[in-house]
């Protein structure tokens, strides 16, 4: 490995990283511009052209707080369902011997390749029409309630724990739930954080399903209300770009913050093993 090659690699990687980050930087800059400046000079902050007016403008149109609360309920419901039931399933697949566990594991893998486009129409018919759950948080949460990738990640982690640990506690008379709560859970904390992050980004960023199921603006997650703003309202605003980008910053900020805080748990091998099964 020559020095030249190492330099070249560092250069390419840095250049690539900047290309990946630039749109985010531009999102923030654009959201703070009093009048949109698409020229090259506009990519640098100009004190004469800075304002927070765009944040006020977008808030008047789509009520950011309601959107954030709805996104929070949607994401929170999915997290609750996944952390409870995916954990139980992952544990029982890895550490308990019972008939049919191979089948359940195969199902968890299979579910990952079922394309949502085929489920869109029947799920809409079932949830919005038959069950009458249109325009409810429950209807929004239901199709995402248990994340199958989380089931697989939990199983993978629990498999690494020695079986003897559990056998010993069982002989001491601990119940299965106590085993899970007192022994298994503290040992899989890294998996827990990985799953929280991975599950969080799903519903928080999801657009198609909540868009189909919510017509009532007071129930829409932020991704849906912002998209509606982009497609319909933006044309009538005085600074549509500034307001849209301000909404985009508010939508992106929670996930990006969570990601930066937990990125050291977002390690390639964990997720890789989770996805590969």
């Amino acid at each position: 490995m020559s020095k030249f090659q190492a330099r070249l690699r560092a250069g390419v990687l840095t250049l690539g990283a900047l290309a990946f980050l630039f749109p985010f930087y531009y999102m923030v800059i654009g959201s703070l511009q009093a009048s949109p400046d698409p020229t090259i000079a506009g990519a640098f902050p100009n004190p004469a052209n800075l304002t927070v007016q765009n944040y006020i403008a977008i808030n008047e149109r789509i009520n950011l707080l309601t959107g954030l609360v709805n996104s929070g309920i949607f994401t929170g419901g999915v997290l609750l369902g996944t952390l409870t039931f995916a954990l139980l399933t992952g544990y029982s697949l890895a550490q308990l011997q019972w008939r049919g566990r191979g089948t359940v594991f195969a199902l968890a893998l299979l579910v990952q390749v079922v394309p949502f486009q085929l489920l869109m129409i029947p799920l809409y018919v079932l949830i919005a029409r038959d069950y009458g759950l249109g325009d409810t948080h429950l209807g929004m949460i239901l199709p995402f309630a248990i994340n199958s990738t989380a089931v697989i990640i939990f199983r993978q982690y629990f498999l690494q724990l020695p079986k003897e640990l559990f056998e010993a506690a069982r002989i001491d008379g601990a119940s299965e739930l106590a085993l899970l709560w007192r022994i298994a859970l503290p040992l899989v904390r890294p998996a827990f954080i990985t799953v929280v992050l991975l599950t969080f980004i799903g519903p928080w960023n999801e657009f198609l399903w909540p868009f189909l199921i919510t017509k009532d603006a007071a129930l829409q997650p932020l991704a849906v209300s912002l998209a509606n703003y982009i497609t319909t309202v933006a044309a009538s605003a005085s600074n549509p770009f500034g307001a849209t980008l301000a909404g985009a910053v508010v939508l992106a900020a929670p996930v990006v913050t969570l990601f930066i805080l937990t990125q050291r748990y977002f390690i390639s091998t964990d997720i890789g093993s989770g996805v590969k099964g």
């Binding site: 990283a17 698409p38 394309p115 085929l118 029947p122 248990i146 657009f207 990125q263």
Partner: protein
């Protein structure tokens, strides 16, 4: 549970044991009906119910809808939904817009999939060897993947607008009409957007796969006089083949699911349907125009095509595993 097993075990272990024992010992000896920890079934039951309710049943229902005359009714109203054979498929594919949307997604995949595989493998290889600023680099590449499409779409509209920054930099080279309203460039621009947005995830997969390539292979390649380029092609590429198969599959399925980007970036598949995707048409035909049966037929065809493409990819890239 373990206690009930443990007690009869000693008596059952003597091969053709006396007649009285065989009656009671039969169960435990053969393994209990539900396994050693039947509680596992209870722990997994909620997930199993969920999969049945949200995946298995809708999957079957979707195929049923595609072959029947299905329309929306008020809740609780019972109507006849006669079997119509392939009629919905004929209706769907007599519509030139539907055919065009399949062509569009073909263009999308031809750009997106190869670009994704090449870029993510190259970047993951470089990232794997990088020694400095690893955290910064990793975060930069993953951030688009963790961010909502709706949020980053807003910036791309701003960037690729008629007098947006991209055209300002390109000057006279900028296409006219601009990217997203140009019928030639709309679909490729969406393909570039999705490649950029999803690349972090595939880099992650390749980084995981690279940990599994034995270091000794690189060492013996270099003692044989292979340079960096040579060892990339003869050690890295074959070493990560299973990951490549996965990247091909996932990026193809993601591409076939395309909806948000044409809906928002090109204002509903414009210009003139040049960037409409099948899923976008399923939404428009099925839910906006009330023809869920025709939309389901499109969905079934799309999934069959995706499966076909995935099988072909597996043939070419998969090798024996």
């Amino acid at each position: 549970m373990s206690l009930t097993n443990a007690v009869p075990a000693p008596s059952g272990s003597a091969p053709p044991s006396p007649p009285p024992a065989s009656g009671t010992a039969r169960g435990p000896k053969k393994r209990p009906l539900l396994g050693r920890n039947p509680l596992g079934i209870m722990f997994s039951a909620p997930y199993l119910v969920f999969v049945m309710l949200v995946f298995a049943y809708p999957l079957v229902y979707s195929i049923w809808i595609a072959f029947h005359d299905f329309f929306f009714t008020a809740p609780g109203v019972q109507v006849e939904r006669p079997f119509v054979g392939l009629e919905n498929f004929v209706t769907a594919f007599s519509d030139p817009a539907v055919i065009r949307s399949f062509g569009n997604v073909g263009i999308f995949l031809l750009i997106n999939v190869p670009l994704t595989v090449v870029l993510s493998l190259l970047l993951a290889t470089a990232l794997n060897k990088a020694t400095r600023a690893r955290t910064f680099l990793r975060v930069s590449y993953y951030v688009p993947y963790v961010t909502a499409s709706v949020a980053v779409v807003a910036v791309w509209i701003f960037l690729f607008n008629g007098n947006g920054l991209v055209n300002q930099v390109l000057g006279p080279l900028a296409p006219d009409p601009s990217w997203l309203i140009n019928s030639t460039w709309a679909m490729p621009t969406i393909a570039f957007f999705v490649t950029w947005k999803q690349l972090g995830f595939y880099i992650l997969l390749y980084l995981a796969a690279l940990q599994g390539v034995p270091k000794e292979l690189y060492e013996s390649a270099s003692t044989d006089g292979a340079g960096a380029v040579r060892s990339f092609f003869s050690v890295t590429v074959p070493g990560v083949r299973p990951a490549t198969v996965l990247v091909l599959l996932v990026s193809t399925v993601t591409g076939a699911n395309l909806f948000t980007e044409p809906y928002l970036l090109t204002n509903g598949g414009g210009p003139n349907g040049a960037s409409a995707s099948p899923v976008l048409l399923m939404y428009q035909l099925g839910l906006q125009q009330g023809q869920p049966d025709v939309a389901s037929a499109i969905g079934v065809v799309l999934v069959v095509l995706v499966l076909g493409v995935a099988l072909l990819q597996n043939r070419f890239a998969g090798g024996r595993d």
